[in-house]
Amino acid sequence: MDTQHAVADTAPVEANADGVESRRDGSNKIMLGPGDSLDGKLNYNGHVTVQGQAQGEFRITGNFEVGSGATVKALIEGSNVTIKGDMEGMLTAREKLTLGKSAKLNGDVTVKRLQIEDGASFNGHVHMGSFEQSSGS
């Protein structure tokens, strides 16, 4: 049983074996370049940066960044979320949401902290504070 479980855990990504960190800074990262696109559901233990296009549902433990020029249509849940491009959908930032000056956000947000820079555009509802949803994973 134990071995089976261990095999199942290590099989998909070799770097995820116990005690081995895939990056020197100790955290996983997904980086989608300007020409890249992602469509689907992602549960991820690490940080995600999108500079191309992304669509779907992303629940990540780390930080999520939508670069300038990026187009994201998704449900996003992350720790710190930074938006500099176009984003549409529900968003939850367990720590902080930052809207950069080139950001365009359409959708409802649930955040602990919120910072909006001059020039950013935002339409939606803001809910600040509690996080009942994120506790059960």
């Binding site: 919120l114 910072q115 001059d118 509802h125 809910h127 600040m128």
Partner: protein, 151 residues
């Protein structure tokens, strides 16, 4: 020419206003305010202020507590100690880290065009001004027409 005479209303930390206030000029609140306020100029809500009112102004700065809808025809700045509970309608919004906001936010060029239209309607009396504003809004209404959803 519109700003030859601007009055400034200041409410100190121990002052209180309950009711409806309209001023052609600027407002600075440090005390308690309840009801409805509208200023043609800038509205400043300082750290000590407790505002339970709908607030309308050109440029609105919030460093205190506001409970009510806020509209700014130019921009809204929520300082790090500021807190707004209510819906916000502004063309530009700046929110500093630490500030708190709960409510609906509507902003962007569409909202800006609406404010420009309202200003044009109000300035209908002096003909030259109205014409100037009208020509300025023409560009924005053209922009607005591109969007299918138009209120």
């Amino acid at each position: 020419m519109t700003e030859n005479e601007t009055s400034v209303v200041m409410l100190g930390p121990r002052d209180r206003l309950i009711g409806e206030l309209y001023i052609e000029g600027n407002l600075r609140v440090s005390g308690t305010l309840e009801g409805q306020i509208e200023a043609t100029g800038d509205v400043d809500v300082t750290e000590a202020a407790m505002v339970k009112a709908t607030v309308a102004g050109r440029e609105v700065n919030v460093s205190g507590q506001v409970n009510g809808a806020v509209t700014a025809s130019k921009k809204l700045v929520i300082g790090r100690s500021g807190s707004i509970v209510g819906d916000v309608r502004v063309p530009r919004l700046i929110m500093q880290d630490g500030a708190s906001l709960s409510g609906n936010v509507s902003m962007g060029p569409k909202v800006a065009a609406e404010f420009a239209q309202a200003a044009a309607a109000e300035a209908a009396a002096p003909v030259e001004v109205a014409a100037a504003v009208q020509s300025a809004t023409d560009g924005e209404t053209a922009q607005e027409k591109q969007k299918p959803k138009k209120r």
